[in-house]
Structure formats: structure tokens, C-alpha cells
């Protein structure tokens, strides 16, 4: 675009318009969130195979597990190595990679993520905690 672009093109929409747009995209983002979660669970379940079937069962809510310290875990994962990092990381990995690694490292935080631990954590958290994790990530 030409040099004149920003000079004469940009205009701030009204606050009411901003709010209307946020309200309009809210349900679409929620749908994306659900879809991403289902996709991650499906991929993890498929990739990790029978050895992690229990964990996958936890993820889809078919296996009851003690909720061990989930609040602490949420606090621990409220930084860079948070839920979305894990989602993006897991989705970017080939099934073989997921199968072969027990721990991986995020490029941004260099904090090791123990995959099995995450699986357990993901499976243990309920919707409220999931949403809190999202909120924490958004506020970071």
C-alpha cells in the first residue's frame, strides 16, 4: 500500500461499534475454543496409543481421576508455558514425535513440559478451570 495509506485511511470506529464486534465474534471464538480442544484431545489420544489410553480417557472424561492439586497446576501454568502453548505445541507435533517424547521444551520459555503431566492436568481440569486458564493466558 502507498505511503498515504495510514495517513488518510485509518479511522477509529466508535466504542459502540467495537463492543458490537466483540459481541459478534464471541460465540465464534467459543466455537473455535471447543473445536481446538476436541482436536487436541483427538490427536493426543490417537498419537499416544494404548500406553496413554488411560490419559486419553481422562481427557475425554471417561475415566475418573483424583483431582490432584489442579489449582496449583493452573497457577504453575499461568505463564508462557500455559494451556495455549501446549495446544499449539501439541498440534504442531507429528504423532510420532508425540509418541516418542516424554518432555518437550517451549521455544519461548525454555521450560520443560512433561507431556504426561500435562495430559493428566488437562484431563483433570473442568470447564471452569479451563476457562480460568484461558483467561489467565489472555491476561498475560
Amino acid at each position: 500500500m502507498s505511503r498515504i495509506h495510514d495517513e488518510f485511511l485509518s479511522d477509529e470506529p466508535s466504542r459502540a461499534a467495537n463492543e458490537r464486534i466483540s459481541a459478534a465474534v464471541g460465540p465464534l471464538l467459543a466455537a473455535n475454543r471447543q473445536s481446538a480442544r476436541r482436536s487436541l484431545l483427538a490427536r493426543l489420544s490417537l498419537a499416544l496409543g494404548s500406553a496413554l489410553a488411560v490419559a486419553a480417557g481422562i481427557l475425554v472424561g471417561r475415566v475418573e481421576t483424583p483431582r490432584r492439586g489442579s489449582d496449583d497446576r493452573l497457577a504453575h501454568h499461568s505463564g508462557d508455558d500455559d494451556l495455549f502453548e501446549l495446544v499449539l505445541l501439541a498440534e504442531s507435533m507429528a504423532p510420532a514425535e508425540l509418541d516418542s517424547v516424554a518432555s518437550v521444551s517451549t521455544t519461548e520459555s525454555s521450560v520443560d513440559i512433561e507431556l504426561l503431566d500435562h495430559l493428566d492436568w488437562l484431563g483433570a481440569v473442568g470447564d471452569d478451570e479451563w476457562n480460568r486458564a484461558l483467561q489467565s493466558q489472555e491476561n498475560s
Binding site: 485509518s10 479511522d11 470506529p13 458490537r20 473445536s35
Partner: protein, 192 residues
């Protein structure tokens, strides 16, 4: 979020991140709305176009593949929706009688020279108001010509009008803008 690239934010939007959407929205909302507003000349309709543009971005986010092209993508979608809106209201009809005899844009102002005329104007709002006051076809044609580096034939294709109609519309629009901005400069000169 502020350190993330547009592409990273869109990937996060694909996973449902409201924070990523808000960051991208803050970065580009003025572009999306402003572009639609320049073309449509109407705030309410431009807000509708902006809303639809952002909805489309969220919908496509799960399949986003563009590398570094978010800004361009948003501008293109906003432009096309705005033009479609004008076309739906038959505001882009251009009658042969409106065309000039000249087969070329003979205003004598190149894009660079014309940009200089606009940039010389102290108040950006005066320029925006002058562009907004142009007729629909002229306003749209000059917005595309100035901001997108589109050729006459490209603009003609976008607006579904003839190339000579584009040249004619641009000629009239530039002539009117230069006249109004010169008058404005004179008025500013008298005040200072």
C-alpha cells in the same frame, strides 16, 4: 500478546483466544473501519462492513495460512465488502454521459504529485472530509487508486465499470480535491 506477530495471533484466535483477538483488533481496527469508511462515506455502514470483516477473520482463523499478510487480507476483505455494499445499492452505476471525452486521465497529476498535495495539507481531517464529500464512484476510485497502487484497469474490474469511466471519475475527483484543498490552504493562510 503484544509481542506476537499477526500470524501468531490468528493461530491463537483459531484456538479461541479472546485475548489474541483483542490484540489483533486493536492493531488493525482503524485500518479496517477507516478503509470501509473511506469507500462508503457512511459510518454506520462502515461499521457493518468492519464487523463482517472481523467475523470472517475469526471464521478463517482455523485454516489461516497467510504468512505476514494479515493486514493486507483485512484491507482486501474490507474493501471488497464495502464495494459490494455500494454495488448492492446501485451506487456504483456510472453513465456514459458522465464520461469525459478524454481517453486518458488528463489532470496532469501523477500519484506521487497528488499524494504530495494531500500530505501538504496540515489537517488530515480536512482531507478525509473532502474525500468523503466526493460522489460514490469518484470517492471509491480515488481511495483505491491512492491506497492500493491499483491500475485503472484493476479499479475498473473492482468496480465493474469501464476503464474510461474510472479515468473520468479520477479526473473529476482529483480536480475537485485539489480545488477544495487549495481553498482550504488559502483559508488557513489567511487565519495564520
Amino acid at each position: 500478546m503484544k509481542n506476537r506477530s499477526d500470524d501468531e495471533l490468528i493461530a491463537l484466535i483459531g484456538t479461541g483466544s479472546t485475548g489474541a483477538f483483542n490484540e489483533l483488533f486493536v492493531r488493525h481496527r482503524a485500518l479496517v473501519f477507516g478503509y470501509a469508511f473511506r469507500i462508503l462515506g457512511d459510518r454506520a455502514r462502515a461499521e457493518d462492513v468492519a464487523q463482517e470483516t472481523w467475523i470472517r477473520l475469526v471464521k478463517i482463523s482455523t485454516a489461516w495460512t497467510a504468512q505476514g499478510g494479515a493486514r493486507s487480507w483485512l484491507a482486501t476483505v474490507a474493501r471488497r465488502l464495502a464495494i459490494a455494499s455500494l454495488r448492492a445499492e446501485r451506487r456504483l452505476e456510472y453513465h456514459p454521459a458522465d464520461e469525459l471525452d478524454q481517453s486518458e486521465d488528463t489532470s496532469g497529476l501523477s500519484r506521487e504529485t497528488f499524494e504530495d498535495v494531500l500530505l501538504a495539507q496540515e489537517s488530515r481531517e480536512v482531507v478525509k472530509a473532502a474525500i468523503a464529500a466526493l460522489p460514490d464512484v469518484g470517492r471509491t476510485a480515488i481511495t483505491l487508486w491512492l491506497t492500493e497502487d491499483l491500475s485503472y484497469s484493476d479499479i475498473a474490474r473492482e468496480l465493474s465499470i469501464s476503464e474510461s469511466a474510472v479515468k473520468s471519475a479520477l479526473f473529476r475527483a482529483k480536480e475537485r480535491l485539489v480545488r477544495e484543498l487549495s481553498d482550504s490552504n488559502l483559508r488557513q493562510g489567511r487565519r495564520s
